[in-house]
């Protein structure tokens, strides 16, 4: 069933995809991917999950034509993976930002822009817009990338992936190496891309990130597809019900427990909800910016 903003049109179709790495003599060494089949629909954010060595990055590189499949077929945007013209509509952010370290931010985006059919004025305008979007400080834009921190390199990597305003964005470990602020920016960016109707395929082993942004996920293990489906459906506990209210008195809690028992159900847990660490971190940083010098949290006592 498609969600709002999504369609049934397949952007990526993978059928029986297998990749076997061979040694110098052509003998099979590792079966990195085994008979993977999946469809990724237009407008959805799809997550490929799995532990290290499960075949996530191999899948991505097969889709991009960096590796050749041993068996199986790949169709991306209606074209075979080996067809270079498909890249006109694809943006790719590699796991590490493998960019040219001797270029500065402007030169990097201009170079990648020239690989597309983009006139100089459009390239310049789009580069500025993207550098603003990824929040790269103006004073850093004229420095060579070899002087950048990992987070800054990641930001310029994202900008180059979006230089052609792609319909399909492939992100390999998009949040790796980012601090929580950068992490949140990246997730906001992915959700923003989704809002623009773009399809996003991301690989990650950071489960919380995937849960926050993905519509559907596939979990790979040992090169095989183990689970695939909508995130909310896969995570939904079918035999439990959760009710969230403002803070209740102990008497009110007892009354509610009595009502639940009257209907033949058991109360499993009564607790106060806690924020996650990311939310706390972001809130702390934001308030620190607004009130410099003020200590927000003391041990054992919330000052916020």
């Amino acid at each position: 069933m498609s969600q709002p903003g999504q369609s049934n049109e397949s952007v990526i179709e993978v059928r029986n995809l297998t990749k076997v790495y061979r040694d110098f003599w052509g003998r099979p060494k590792v079966r990195a991917l085994n008979a993977l089949s999946l469809d990724i629909k237009k407008g959805e954010v799809f997550g490929l999950l799995g532990p290290n060595g499960s075949g996530k990055t191999t899948t991505l590189k097969l889709l991009l034509g960096l590796l050749f499949p041993t068996e199986g077929d790949i169709t991306i945007l209606g074209k075979p993976a080996a067809d270079v013209s498909k890249n006109e509509r694809i943006g790719y952010l590699p796991e590490e930002s493998y960019l040219y370290r001797f270029l500065n931010a402007h030169e990097t985006l201009d170079f990648y822009g020239r690989l597309f059919k983009m006139p100089a004025s459009v390239r310049k305008e789009r580069a500025e817009k993207l550098l603003d979007m990824v929040k790269l400080a103006p004073q850093a834009r004229r420095r060579q990338l070899k002087e950048y921190s990992k987070g800054m390199t990641r930001r310029i990597g994202v900008a180059q992936a979006l230089i052609n305003d792609p319909d399909l964005v492939m992100l390999d470990e998009p949040t790796s190496g980012l601090d929580p602020l950068g992490n949140r920016d990246m997730k906001d960016l992915i959700l923003d891309l989704k809002k623009q109707g773009k399809t996003v395929l991301m690989c990650s082993h950071l489960l919380a990130d995937v849960q926050d942004v993905c519509d559907r996920i596939a979990i790979l293990y040992g090169g095989e597809l183990k689970v695939m489906g909508r995130v909310d459906e896969l995570l939904k506990a079918q035999d439990e019900t959760q009710i969230l209210s403002s803070k209740l008195s102990p008497e009110a809690i007892r009354d509610i427990e009595a009502v639940i028992k009257k209907h033949g159900a058991n109360v499993l847990k009564v607790d106060q909800p806690t924020a996650n660490l990311e939310d706390l971190f972001l809130k702390t940083v934001q308030e620190s910016r607004e009130r410099p010098g003020h200590r927000l949290v003391q041990e054992g006592k919330s000052g916020a």
Partner: protein, 552 residues
């Protein structure tokens, strides 16, 4: 003169290496086409072996992909990749080579003689030094840069961000070739400009006024002989010295050396109407005499199209010339030919240049104690000189063309080899491309060595068999000869893919005070470069296309 330039671009004319230009074109197609067919066959077989039933479809899809890539080349993308390559080399301090260059020129004057007493040989040394220093500095830098460019891109995976854009592999190869050639060109232009200024400043005005910094434009003719009885002959007399290059005419006999110069007209004369005939003959003396005596000879102009009597062409013989041996001498002969006391005069151009533009000059030795040694380049018409910078610029163009060829070969090698191996391969090809290496390979391929091929020579060594003894005629030896013939053919193919680099060295012309001839050196160098550009770039493209860039 140590060289004898033969024009290449004369249709059907035999070249010094034994080939013909018209023959070279089909050979190029045979070699390039044969290699392409070999690559396609190997690819097809490997695809069918690895993919069995689906192999045919896959092969056709890849083939159509290759054709599509070639047809959809984008100059903008190639330009972007070339600019990237240029910036990469520039920011990785490739221009540090200028420091070495500057050091060389700061101290070179210390070791190159006193500039107050400059001679022709010293001018030659200055020019050779500058052009060789530039070649030896620029070429290794470009070779190393271009051999390591693509392998480093693959190792650091920066190429991933390029190939996942609409950049074709062919564009990547072309962009690299153009980028590295550009950086080499910039370095070359700066160095050659500095070198030119250095040469001009090192040579004093007095030496320049003597014409030591010249750029002579020679017109070489063809040479035939008459023997001492006046009978036509291909060569003169063998005095046992340098027979292959130079032969001799005997003094005070009917022996003659006859040069025929083509394309002669009034433009060959200087502003005063003089024809400059430059000669550098040698002498062999028949018996004891004055070794210091000068050479004695005369010139005779002949026009068979204007007979003055049956079987008697129009002729004019100049006064006897007396010149020193081993020194180039320029004779100025005015177009108004005449003798004192003789009212009859001739016009050199109107009366002696034939309808097809040929001018026949006959040389005879007058001294009966001398034999005059002649070779084709020992007499030439010297057209008005060009400024020195013209010849110098052509020599620099020769280095530039070699630089482009080195870049093409290095980038191609780097698409399927790691950087250091690609550098070794390209260096080997450059070493094998020399004239001596090609001559040696010719001797091997055309069976000029006695003793047979690989297996046959081993057999002869082991059995102590004389190389002139025939081998027994049984199936084992027939098989051995068949194997040797196959190996020889393979060696022939290898020889064809090694570039012939002799044309690219134009510094000898300039350092000897000559202009660089377009037809004997510049055009052949351009043709060789173009001849390698297309197949090498396609090979590099194919190697990148079939390669999994992610694989280690």
């Amino acid at each position: 003169m140590s060289f004898d330039p033969h024009p290449l671009l004369i249709w059907f004319q035999k070249l010094p290496n034994g080939g013909y230009l018209l023959g070279a074109i089909p050979v190029w197609f045979i070699i390039a086409g044969g290699l392409a067919l070999l690559v396609l066959s190997v690819s097809a077989v490997s695809v069918f072996v690895t993919h069995r039933g689906a192999g045919g479809k896959l092969f056709l899809r890849e083939l159509s992909g290759c054709i599509s890539d070639v047809l959809s080349l984008s100059p903008r993308r190639i330009g972007a990749l070339a600019k990237l390559t240029f910036l990469e080399a520039y920011r990785r301090k490739a221009l540090a080579v200028f420091v070495v260059f500057a050091l060389l020129f700061m101290f070179a004057g210390w070791f190159m003689g006193d500039s107050k007493e400059i001679t022709n040989d010293q001018v030659k040394v200055y020019i050779s030094f500058v052009l060789r220093a530039i070649s030896w500095l620029v070429l290794p830098v470009v070779l190393v840069l271009s051999c390591f460019g693509i392998p480093e891109d693959i190792r650091l995976r920066s190429l991933h961000t390029v190939v996942t854009k609409p950049a074709r592999r062919l564009e990547i190869v072309l962009g690299r070739v153009i980028g590295f050639s550009l950086i080499g060109t910039v370095v070359l232009l700066v160095m050659s400009s500095v070198g030119y200024i250095w040469i001009v400043r090192q040579i004093p005005k007095t030496a320049k006024d003597q014409g030591l910094l010249s750029c002579r434009v020679p017109v070489y003719g063809s040479l035939t002989f008459l023997d001492r009885a006046g009978t036509p002959a291909d060569k003169g007399i063998n005095t046992g010295d340098l027979w292959e290059f130079r032969s001799y005419i005997e003094g005070a006999t009917a022996a003659r050396a006859i040069w025929t110069f083509k394309n002669m007209d009034a433009s060959a004369l200087d502003s005063e109407g003089n024809l400059h005939l430059e000669n550098q003959f040698t002498a062999f003396r028949s018996y004891k005499g004055d070794m210091k005596r000068q050479l004695l000879f005369d010139f005779k102009f002949i026009n068979p199209e204007k007979p003055i009597a049956p079987n008697q062409p129009l002729t004019f013989t100049t006064d006897a010339r007396q010149v020193n041996e081993f020194r180039g001498v320029t004779d100025k002969i005015n177009r108004k030919l005449g003798r004192e006391g003789d009212e009859k005069t001739y016009d050199l151009i109107d009366d002696f240049v034939m309808k097809d533009g040929s001018l026949i000059v006959e040389v005879s030795c007058i001294d009966r104690e001398q034999y005059l040694g002649m070779a084709r380049p020992d007499l030439f018409v010297r057209r008005p000189d060009q400024p020195f910078y013209i010849g110098y610029a052509k020599a620099v163009l020769g280095i530039e063309l070699l630089l482009i060829l080195v870049t093409i070969m290095s980038v191609t090698a780097s698409t399927f080899l790691k950087g250091p191996i690609a550098a070794v391969l390209t260096s080997c090809l450059l070493m094998l491309g020399g004239e001596d290496s090609h001559n040696f390979m010719d001797e091997l391929v055309f069976g000029k060595f006695k003793g047979g091929g690989f297996l046959e020579s081993i057999y002869r060594i082991i059995t102590h068999m004389n190389p002139t003894t025939d081998l027994p005629d049984n199936p084992a030896f027939v098989g051995m000869r068949f194997f040797d013939a196959g190996l020889t053919n393979f060696l022939w193919l290898c020889k064809q893919v090694i570039p012939r680099l002799q044309y690219f060295n134009m510094s000898d012309y300039v350092s000897n005070g000559f202009d660089v001839p377009w037809d004997a050196s510049v055009v052949p160098s351009i043709l060789v470069t173009l001849g390698y550009l297309v197949p090498c770039v396609l090979l590099g493209y194919f190697a990148l296309r079939i390669r999994e860039l992610e694989s280690k």
